[in-house]
Symmetry: C2
């Protein structure tokens, strides 16, 4: 945990924002429901506990079954949880009291769990507003319904206030993100050192994920490791590593403070790229570097996405994969055929930060409208950047036969795509290269002490054993 002042200051800032949004006496309660253990099988066999990120941000305590209320009309903060009993001591050992844990994050009032529901019911009976965030877990949906609240109607005021705080990382958070990215560097090094023709993909994943459990909380999202990179989120690892393939590894480590890394590298399974692979790889690599060079305060990341896609199309044009006027291609979104996802997303306590609060609230300024184009429409972070933003920079090129056939059939490309040439790439797979970037006062820096090898020569050198 951070010092208690960190949490006190965040709650003060939140209260201040919420108070600005409504008159005194009209503000109501902001309620926070921490996570409970999530059953993997039966109720007592659970997945590794992961606390809710907003809970961690404001209340710090990494224990299941906690809740809290801030009374926005008088500033009173109360944490709700139950102290353990003798039966629990046998199973769980002696535990600090709820009140001492509350005090450790600067909260001087605590109460048993059942008082939480009573306090909310009473406030509802008095016609007070109840502010809550969207429920990500099914437990929270149930809990909100049991409290008599409509889980489909979270508080937009609270969502916006939280997003405005969490999007700008404090120095103590940046230190954690650097730490997580150092673990991510190690995780990808483990991956690279274990790619060997003939072994099962799952064995590499086991070594990577084991490392994250040994040094951090675990993976920050399910590891993607695939010789079919054209399948963007492939979570199966049941293939044997074959020679001559490209292996996309999109994987991150969550450290013990729950800050994540999120890096993607694409490795030639044989240790050397073919020249065809290298041509495409170099485009993606250059797009990654170009996007980073464009990242600084005041620039809209939407524009960085679009400029990067322009560069990608120019380079694909040089390979005769697309043909014609680049401006027109950018305009109608031809790049989406090759990169059907956005350039990046915000990163914080959630690896896609606050995704369930609404991607547009998180990633779009109020005057920005989300595109409906394939690719640009999936861009999660479009905002004008400010110092303290942390984002991913992850261009990719994929050759997805089903998607190419669909565009061809429906004429989506308006004649800009050279389908005859594209056929040569049906078995190519895909490439993605991703770094994690902090927006600084005058530019940007990549998080972590060292950058993972990314230039094709560097990658081939690193794979020599």
């Amino acid at each position: 945990m951070f010092n208690k002042e960190v949490y006190e200051n965040r709650r003060k800032a939140l209260i201040s924002k919420m108070c600005a949004a409504a008159a005194e006496g009209q503000r109501g309660l902001a309620i926070f429901i921490g996570n409970v253990d999530a059953p993997a099988q039966y109720k007592d066999n659970c997945y590794k506990f992961r606390q809710d990120s907003t809970w961690l941000y404001f209340w710090g305590l990494d224990n299941p079954g906690y809740a809290a209320i801030i009374d926005l009309d008088n500033g009173v903060e109360i944490i709700y949880a139950d102290d353990i009993e003798i039966g629990d001591i046998i199973w769980m050992g002696p535990q600090p009291s709820v009140s001492s844990l509350a005090a450790s994050v600067g909260v001087d009032r605590s109460a048993p769990s059942d008082a939480f529901g009573k306090a909310v019911s009473e406030a509802i009976a008095h016609g007070r507003r109840i502010h809550f965030v969207p429920a990500s877990r099914y437990y929270n949906v149930l809990k909100l319904r049991e409290l008599g609240l409509d889980d489909k109607k979270p508080s937009v005021d609270l969502i916006k206030a939280i997003i405005s705080l969490r999007l700008i990382k404090e120095p103590c958070e940046i230190a954690q993100l650097d730490d997580a990215c150092n673990l991510g560097y190690e995780m990808h090094t483990v991956a690279r050192n274990n790619v060997r023709i003939g072994i099962l993909e799952q064995e590499i994943v086991g070594k990577m994920d084991g490392m994250t459990l040994g040094k951090g909380w675990g993976v920050s999202f399910p590891t993607i490791l695939s010789q079919h990179g054209e399948t963007l989120h492939n979570h199966l690892h049941d293939k044997i590593v074959e020679p001559g393939k490209l292996m996309v590894i999109d994987a991150g480590c969550e450290n013990n403070m729950h800050y994540p890394s999120d890096h993607t590298r694409t490795l030639p399974t044989s240790g050397k790229f073919t020249s065809k692979q290298r041509d495409i790889y170099q485009i993606v690599c250059d797009c990654n570097n170009y996007a980073f060079s464009q990242t600084r305060p005041g620039v809209a990341y939407r524009d960085v996405h679009i400029k990067t896609m322009r560069m990608m199309l120019e380079r694909l044009s040089a390979l005769d994969i697309v043909r014609g006027d680049i401006d027109s291609m950018v305009e109608i979104g031809i790049a989406g055929l090759f990169q059907p996802h956005g350039l990046g997303h915000a990163i914080g306590l959630d690896v896609h930060d606050m995704e369930d609060y609404g991607e547009n609230f998180v990633g779009y300024d109020e005057d920005q409208t989300r595109s409906s184009q394939l690719g640009l429409g999936s861009l999660r972070m479009a905002r004008r950047l400010v110092p303290g933003n942390v984002i991913s920079d992850e261009p990719g090129i994929y050759f997805i036969p089903a998607l190419i056939e669909l565009w061809k059939k429906e004429g989506t490309d308006k004649g800009f795509v050279n389908y005859a040439k594209l056929e040569e790439y049906y078995d190519f797979g895909g490439i993605r290269l991703e770094d994690d970037v902090l927006v600084t006062s005058d530019g940007a820096r990549r998080l972590g002490d060292q950058r993972l090898p990314i230039e094709p020569d560097e990658v081939e050198e690193a794979m020599k054993r």
Copy 2:
């Protein structure tokens, strides 16, 4: 997956049992809700998918978002799920159709997901019975409520029918359990080879859990690895390994077919037991072997528990930790102070098999009543054993200061406990030794090819590096 005949036969057996429980036309529907992905953070960042065990048992398909209905009045079986669309193909790659997956487990009818709710609603409207099992996951609670069913009122007929089938393992399941126990052997070997003074417990756990992910689905339950074995379910691994401690490691691997292992070993962190440690360790080791020797068809495991506790008390009496008449001590349950848990539980697709269906339904014959004594009251498997049962054999001795003080204060021990002697053990910790046992036609055998080192000399030898 197993051959489709395995699933067809299981469903046939289930239908036959359910038909015996009610007259034709009165039987209604048995509904099965497979698991969905469980969010760890936001909805698209989920824990590794774990299918529901009863779903796996009858329907085999290891995919999220599936449901099924058996119409018990006409034997019709339908699997419900949605085929993927082009947008999903980009993210997930081409996938087999629902109808082809259904056919692979012997089901010739399938329908889209929304037809499931309609079929259930229609049956309810016609006053037909809807049989369902208890919901373990919050999603299933929500789903049952949305279907208009009371999640608190599962079908006892269906529960009993499923338990009667799943408690007796088929040869194909025994092969899987042997395989899982071989992985469990490897997991504990990794643990033993990595215990080193000065390292963080978490590092050992990372290596163990990484191995399970590399060769199987992952851990069959959260790994317990603790130098405070007296805390029975300690999931924190934040301590440095210290010399002279006892480390309890209760951990298992789930293989890719979702069959688990569940072994406990207790290691001296320095590689050698002190003589005080060895005295207690030998008692637990002998209790484990004795319990195994008593395990065979026709014997109630409750009696094996009680006889093993008698042996434990005799041996503790020889150390002057308890004093007096052994029969009386057994009668009033003095062993519960040292082993406040049961001797074992059923093992199957769930590592505590079907625990959420009701421990008494799973573990007690109809004429057996559960004890209220500490220890015996926690016994999960009391039944008269039959060939095909798979159970754990896990005696333990723990010195739990909070519990000892409570017994002393309340006189629970009726004078049989020598508290003066016990004080010498307040910093001892605990010991548990657990194997997985199959009841055979004429006795029992431990699952897996090799038994993990268990005799104190064997353990010390194995720890020499």
